[in-house]
Symmetry: C2
Subunit: 491 residues, 2 copies
């Protein structure tokens, strides 16, 4: 009876193929998130539940970043969720940017509060308040603090991972004695995000400066990393802000310098959120489901046992468990799928949907030959299959994972190259942003940016860093320009 | 000039001794938390900032627990912060327990909400709602999920770490097919908390059942671990609840059993919070400050270099850095205090305040003799000092840390034994709860518990598990009783 129920479930699930990416990218994404059990909708509009499989991915992202933050001298801490409403008003641009998005607590413990509180939309203000108290002398600087938490912004149009009322992230907040140090910190954190995206998530990103209209509310300069998704749209995957002395003035964060003179600090903030999970899905996923980059995959390898008789089952499971132990002992994240009442084919589909990068199949014939089948998630069908010896399987698996990691990156980079145009005129830009990124000279004037947005829905994603010295004509107005910008439609 | 400022700071700090524990335990605690930079007050009444040193301790606590949770098959996830107000009302005891403590969001995105939302005071309701959706068959059970987050309860009297409006914790939530499995899970998690407290935090705890009046709002049975603090009061350091079918009925969490019959699940929840940091402080701290149990200490060893001349400084720092690398290479959490402009004496006091379990002192004479001084934080003065060879220092330090870990536990246990009375009559109980714990027969009637509370301010902390079969007279009413309870005043 039990087996019957499961088989019905299995049938139901394998019959329901995802819509293809080319057919309906948005629906492909939504269904994949739900069916891979990464996240689910919450009872409150626009909120999400991150399910265990999605959270395991986030934990791996957290570790990969946290290691880098700590290696560069940052410490974690925790600041409160509740912020006095008046704090938000203290920094002029900040209040303009965040006021429309606030969730407001008006009652506590059964009584109306004297001053309403807001749930943090970000923590510059409350951390600024604390830094003003903690920082006295130049000897106290720099202060390098990060926190992992969730924030709430009252978004109207929401989508799992990409834009939700509550989302999970880290927010770094630092204070420095000079502009130069703050700028160096801002750029260092952008470099860290870039390194993480490239090496761990296998996502090629373009680090660059934001245009004025896309800057963080209260920043002097915002940098971001931008990635191209499978549908050609851009996704801002991490941001780093040089806040100048804006928050230091608003919150009176001052220090006594070496000459005994009181100076305002220079502050920064930088963040990367669960939105990054959306990027992983939309960069690497295919019509069968998700493909996890091996370095971040909750399960790097799944072992699927294949048997028909009870005798075969006993023999195969014994060997499969032994292999699992060997792989785990080599620090590989391995899972053995011992579920009964489901076919190997169902299991293959299930783990393909969830994006496990490598599958090990083992049946009676493999045992007789002392081999297993390796199947790469990134290469469907025969091309991705190989028969390998059980001897030294951990080494073979490790090498295969490295190859997959590299192949995912190479494929994503080739996709970006193929979908980045360098238009020479405005008609060319219009065509380019229909397919993907357009890299073109821009004069830097908000008016041109605005006109392009009205015509094409594309915005300046960033002005890439490290551009060669050059000059050309603004793609819109023709005025002399020194830098190119990436234009694209964006999530 | 810089050195001068710091020296003034140093002087100010070393002059400000903590109040002694015996003189004013509450004030000793408050000042220690602030001066060891574990936490600070937030601008919103009753909220706290956990500073980097306090958060590093919490991260070590998290790792020690998370490892145990995962080893027993639990997965982490993240459920939303915002819960519809109506959810709280669905379980009768739950609404009665939590309604007075809710923080209510009435406005979002500039508009009044149709239904007010509450910030989770705990997540049984919203998780119950999700489980009802996810669980269909007995094959989906058990569901074993934990989350690390913060919750908000509108407390009136607050104290850093011990009781704050927002606090940090983990909350596990599981669903099972039978009462027996739910009860086994509830007890397993209590065992895990006990094991963690004893082995990692060096805190002896008494695991037991809560009395009816102290049960979690919505639980059929609540278990807790109870520890004695330095002032003789009890602190509930972790709880595990068997929720029976209460939430399963309220949220319709049902599964189809093997016979095709729909059944309500049996659920549990269990949590341990940043309150535990308060326990570590109040169990191990002394008049000089905090004493961190080595297994959880953010810094297990601090190296303090001692020198007068520039030449000595160069020589000593070179050796100190080498020793730091050796200790770090042996996975010891070591910090080298290279601060200039502060005396070794100031550094000693500073790290004693912060409770680093072991100090390594190294100066020119030590270098000449190829030795260092080891100073144990738990044994002040000469008794805790020894001269040891620089050869094999990592091994020597590891052994010393193990000894300190054991010594802290032994001392805490001896203190508890010395402050636990076994009164034979009511007058004896009154005296015992003035000093600490009283272990006495109790008939189980809430009336007796209430009377004792009115007379003495002591409550039933728990009914210890694993009591030998016995019978006696209730310490209050004299009725026949089969079990003893721990009575104490509590945080």
């Amino acid at each position: 009876m039990g087996a019957k129920i499961i088989n019905e479930g299995a049938k139901r699930m394998s019959e329901l193929k995802l819509p293809s990416r080319s057919e309906d990218f948005a629906e492909w994404y939504n269904q994949l998130v739900l069916r891979a059990e990464l996240a689910d909708y919450a009872p409150v509009r626009g909120c999400m539940i991150v399910r265990p499989y999605g959270w395991a991915l986030w934990e791996n992202i957290q570790q990969a970043l946290d290691r880098r933050f700590k290696a560069t001298g940052h410490l974690n801490a925790a600041f409160p969720l509740l912020i006095p409403r008046s704090f938000i008003d203290k920094e002029q641009s900040h209040v303009a940017g965040f006021s429309p998005e606030l969730a407001v607590v008006t009652h506590g413990g059964g009584e109306e509060l004297e001053e309403p509180l807001v749930i943090r939309p970000t923590s510059e203000t409350i951390i600024g308040h604390a830094y003003a108290k903690w920082i006295q002398s130049y000897r106290d600087l720099p202060v390098l603090i990060n926190q992992w938490n969730s924030v709430v912004r009252w978004e109207l149009r929401t989508k799992l991972f990409l834009r939700t009322l509550e989302f999970f992230w880290q927010e770094g907040h630092t204070a420095h004695a000079t502009y130069e140090e703050a700028e160096a910190e801002t750029r260092q954190m952008l470099d860290i995000y870039t390194d993480f995206a490239v090496r761990d998530a296998a996502i090629p990103v373009i680090p660059g400066r934001k245009s004025l209209s896309e800057r963080f509310a209260g920043a002097d300069q915002t940098y971001s990393i931008e990635a191209i998704m499978g549908d050609g749209k851009a996704l801002q995957a991490g941001t780093s802000h040089n806040l100048g002395q804006n928050f230091a003035r608003a919150f009176d964060i001052r220090y006594l310098d070496k000459h005994g003179v009181l100076q305002h600090c220079w502050t920064t903030s930088w963040g990367l959120s669960t939105r990054f999970i959306g990027a992983i899905i939309m960069v690497h996923g295919d019509d069968q489901g998700l493909i996890m980059p091996p370095k971040l995959a909750p399960h790097q390898v799944v072992i699927v046992p294949i048997y028909k008789t009870d005798a075969e089952q006993a023999q195969v499971l014994e060997k499969a468990r032994k292999l699992r132990s060997e792989l785990a002992a080599s620090n590989l994240r391995v899972i053995l799928d011992e579920r009964e009442g489901t076919s190997p084919g169902f299991k293959f589909n299930d783990w393909e949907m969830r994006g496990v990068p490598l599958r090990v199949e083992i049946g009676p014939k493999d045992i007789a030959k002392n081999t297993v089948v390796l199947a790469r998630r990134d290469k469907p069908g025969k091309e991705g299959k190989s028969f390998v010896s059980q001897e030294g399987l951990a080494g073979t698996v490790s090498r295969a994972l490295e190859e997959i990691q590299q192949a995912l990156y190479d494929r994503a980079l080739a996709f970006r190259d193929a979908n980045t145009g360098e238009p020479l005129d405005y008609e060319g830009l219009k065509a380019a942003v229909e397919a993907g990124f357009a890299l073109a000279f821009w004069c830097g004037q908000p008016e041109c940016e605005q006109k392009i947005k009205e015509d094409t829905k594309a915005t300046v994603r960033c002005i890439p860093l490290g551009q060669p010295e050059a000059s050309g004509a603004c793609i819109y107005c023709g005025q002399p320009s020194r830098e190119k910008a990436i234009f694209a439609k964006a999530y």
